[in-house]
């Protein structure tokens, strides 16, 4: 039933698209937030291209986090890799507890300014939810299913690919979604080290004391996070509509 929720989402998507394509048409909305005739709409770069590179950085980092976190989760749930579980947990936790800003600061001397340090910070920050969810997903696979799979002659690899991972998939995707959404916001700090992204808009607003810029950067980032969350949820629902696995 296309209820209020759907209408709200479509409206949000429409507004975001309209704003990114024709920002100037929103000038009257943001004008009240400016002073002394400052520009109401961010004018130091193309908003659409900033939003796209912001999204690109976040997705790239999430892809890397997913690859590493899921592989690690698989490794430590195999009999042979169980001894690495405490170590992996500590590392992944460190990635989450160590402030992304600090990672940025540490990464810049190593890899220089630009997108790279941001990717590293987001990658480290996004590992935890994916890793933990992969772990829970794999560890809670019902023993009877594992026994049935092995008993019918699946190799360890076949069992992983056709039973364990598919069953853990809803949880893994939930972890990816969480990590994505957190990082859409976190990625704004990348602009402090000259990565192209929406943080630029916010920082410009801070520097020139232009509340309209800050609002624009914040709103676009927020809307992107919400829409991304919804899109991921929709994909998950579609994938697991028929089989009830949880």
């Amino acid at each position: 039933m296309p209820g209020i929720a759907v209408i709200l989402r479509l409206t949000a998507l429409g507004l975001l698209t309209a704003f990114l394509l024709t920002p100037q048409s929103f000038a009257p909305v943001f004008a009240p937030f400016t002073q002394y005739g400052a520009p109401p709409i961010y004018d130091q770069g193309n908003l659409l291209s900033l939003a796209l590179s912001h999204l690109g950085t976040v997705c790239l980092a999430a892809a890397a986090s997913t690859l590493v976190a899921v592989s690690l989760g698989i490794l430590v749930t195999r009999g042979s890799g169980a001894e690495f579980l405490p170590l992996s947990r500590s590392l992944v936790n460190l990635g989450q507890t160590f402030p992304p800003v600090a990672i940025l600061a540490l990464a810049v001397p190593l890899v220089g300014f630009g997108e790279k340090p941001t990717l590293i910070a987001l990658f480290a920050y996004g590992l935890l939810p994916i890793f933990e969810n992969t772990l829970i997903g794999l560890q809670t696979c019902p023993p009877a299913l594992l026994e049935a799979a092995s008993g019918m002659g699946m190799s360890a690899r076949q069992r992983l690919m056709s039973v364990e991972l598919p069953l853990a998939m809803p949880l893994i995707l939930e972890g990816v979604r969480l990590s994505l959404v957190i990082n859409v916001g976190t990625a704004t700090i990348g602009s402090t080290v000259a990565a192209k992204g929406l943080g630029e808009v916010i920082i410009a607003g801070l520097l020139s004391n232009n509340t309209a810029f800050i609002l624009q950067g914040g709103l676009v980032t927020g809307l992107m996070a919400i829409l991304l969350y919804d899109a991921m949820s929709a994909i998950e629902r579609r994938m697991f509509k028929a089989a009830r696995i949880d």
Partner: protein, 311 residues
């Protein structure tokens, strides 16, 4: 068909299965019965090497099962467990097709086999093939579990308390179905249960286990008339052993020549049921008829009782 030679499984210091030897005939049902924790499942799992023996070996058709990779061995052996272990993310058809897929059967052969099995297990393919396990009742799920175990036409089927989760009525039906299937495919079945009635009902041969040892492995009647251990008597129940013995013989087998005036019973009925019928109706003799209604002789109460005597 299956020869278990002096097999032992130890976990730490304790032998969970302790020096068990057993012969299992082709085309028969062997039931392993015993209390919980007696080592039944471990013994069963050593046949398909889900558990590797600490000592001893298992031969199938004179070939040591340790001579090939375990997962390849298991594809040739059906395996059905309690709570069925159906994959919740796969449709019924996909579940049943699991082993044929692993064996890389051609798609058309897989489809045909799935349809055939669904029909045998009284699950309309048009209705059930594309359903998911959670949409089925417990009894239906259990049937799919057995169908899946039989999908690749294994010569041997191992079952670990396959009917444990079913209520009594569905359970009895499932047991009858299993007997039909066994006759139809000639599968050699090894079944684990803690239910002695199930053991007597299904087993051509029953192995009674306790503390990792097989106390006796024999025809059901022999367990009653020549128990090898007091525990066997205890487990088979001494109070109703005469009736149990009667339930192991069919009217057809026991019928004596000639006819009698009075009621008729089916040749397939057990003597226990015939006796019950006679008591109920106040008769003391019955004609035995085969499935086509032809006379196969008759039975008297005295003749029936002689079958329930310890020899």
């Amino acid at each position: 068909m299956i020869r278990i030679e002096n097999i032992t499984k130890r976990y730490g210091d304790s032998a969970v299965v302790d020096g068990v030897s057993m012969n299992i005939e082709r085309n028969s049902i062997t039931v392993i019965v015993g209390t919980s924790g007696s080592g039944k499942s471990t013994l069963l799992r050593m046949i398909n090497r889900l558990v590797e023996p600490s000592q001893g070996r298992v031969l199938i058709d004179e070939k040591d099962t340790a001579s090939e990779p375990a997962h390849l061995l298991r594809r040739r052996i059906g395996y059905a467990i309690q709570g069925h272990g159906l994959f919740p993310h796969r449709s019924i058809a996909q579940n049943i097709a699991t082993v044929p897929r692993l064996l890389e059967w051609p798609e058309a052969r897989i489809d045909a086999r799935v349809t055939e099995l669904l029909e045998i297990f009284q699950l309309d393919p048009g209705v059930f093939a594309h359903k998911f396990p959670h949409q089925l009742s417990g009894g239906q799920q259990q049937r799919v579990g057995v169908a899946r175990a039989l999908a690749a036409e294994p010569a041997v089927l191992l079952m670990d308390e396959p009917f444990g989760a079913l209520d009594p009525v569905i359970r009895a039906k499932a047991q009858d179905d299993l007997l039909d299937i066994q006759r139809r495919f000639g599968t050699t079945i090894v079944l684990v249960t803690h239910d002695i009635d199930e053991a007597f009902r299904l087993g051509d041969q029953v192995a009674v286990m306790s503390h990792g040892k097989v106390l006796q492995c024999d025809r059901p009647a022999a367990l009653l008339t020549q128990p090898a251990d007091p525990l066997v008597t205890l487990m088979t129940g001494s109070a109703d052993r005469a009736l149990r013995l009667l339930s192991l013989t069919s009217a057809g087998e026991a019928a004596i020549p000639g006819a009698t005036a009075g009621i008729s019973v089916a040749a397939s009925a057990s003597l226990r049921d015939v006796l019950s019928d006679l008591v109920w109706r106040g008769a003391d003799a019955a004609n035995v008829l085969d499935t086509e209604g032809r006379p196969r002789g008759h039975l008297t109460v005295a003749a029936i009782l002689s079958h329930g005597r310890s020899r």
